[in-house]
Symmetry: C2
Subunit: 99 residues, 2 copies
DNA sequence: TGATATTGTAATGCTCCGCATTACGTTGTA
DNA sequence: TACAACGTAATGCGGAGCATTACAATATCA
């Protein structure tokens, strides 16, 4: 499970899961997928290319359409977000323990 | 645990936890808290009043300072976000099962 | 009590993000 | 070959997070 994964490894972006697994499984085009989600084709395309984040609303849409939990999509996105921040930024916050 | 809570009940906003539990526990002022987090006093104030969401970066800051997991703060925020969307919006997405 | 610290809040300005729409070129396919 | 699907750029809009500044109200303490 996730808790046993290498913490330095970049987590799977939700877009990758949609692109690699979900869409092929459904045998559905991006255009059709976008239509059913009620968003534009561009929105789906950019999400699949991992250029856009899964928003809470998008998570609800995905959950509704696919019969999965919105939480799981958001959790995937969170993992990516946190990984990116920890990699890129230098957040200098001193832990209170050090006091 | 959370999974057993009433799904219709509004989840606890992270700001509430900070305001009700964390800050009092630490006996720390908002001003000092903001300084240690490396954000403005206004940012903390609005978060405590639940007028602002915990961003991924803020979650990292909180985790660092308090020695807790950033994930837990984000999870709290997710719960609020999803609840709000499900309450307020009408996302008309037909489940694929219905096909 | 008087000075100082803390807090709530409004106003401004900046930047970034999500999204729709439109448009155009490429590629795959019936 | 005509059409569908896709990648992608441009434009515009609205909203969110954040800093800074400022002012008033309240709390605390010497």
């Amino acid at each position: 499970m996730d808790s046993l994964r290498d913490p330095d490894r970049k987590p799977t972006h939700p877009g990758e899961a949609l692109r690699e697994d979900v869409l092929p499984e459904l045998g559905m085009t991006q255009t059709e997928f976008a239509r059913r989600l009620g968003v534009s084709r561009l929105t789906v395309s950019e999400l699949l290319h991992e250029r856009r984040r899964v928003t809470p609303e998008m998570a609800v849409r995905l959950g509704r359409l696919l019969g999965t939990s919105a939480e799981s999509w958001l959790a995937m996105q969170n993992a990516v977000d946190l990984w990116q921040i920890r990699q890129a930024e230098v957040i200098d916050v001193e832990p209170l323990d050090a006091a």
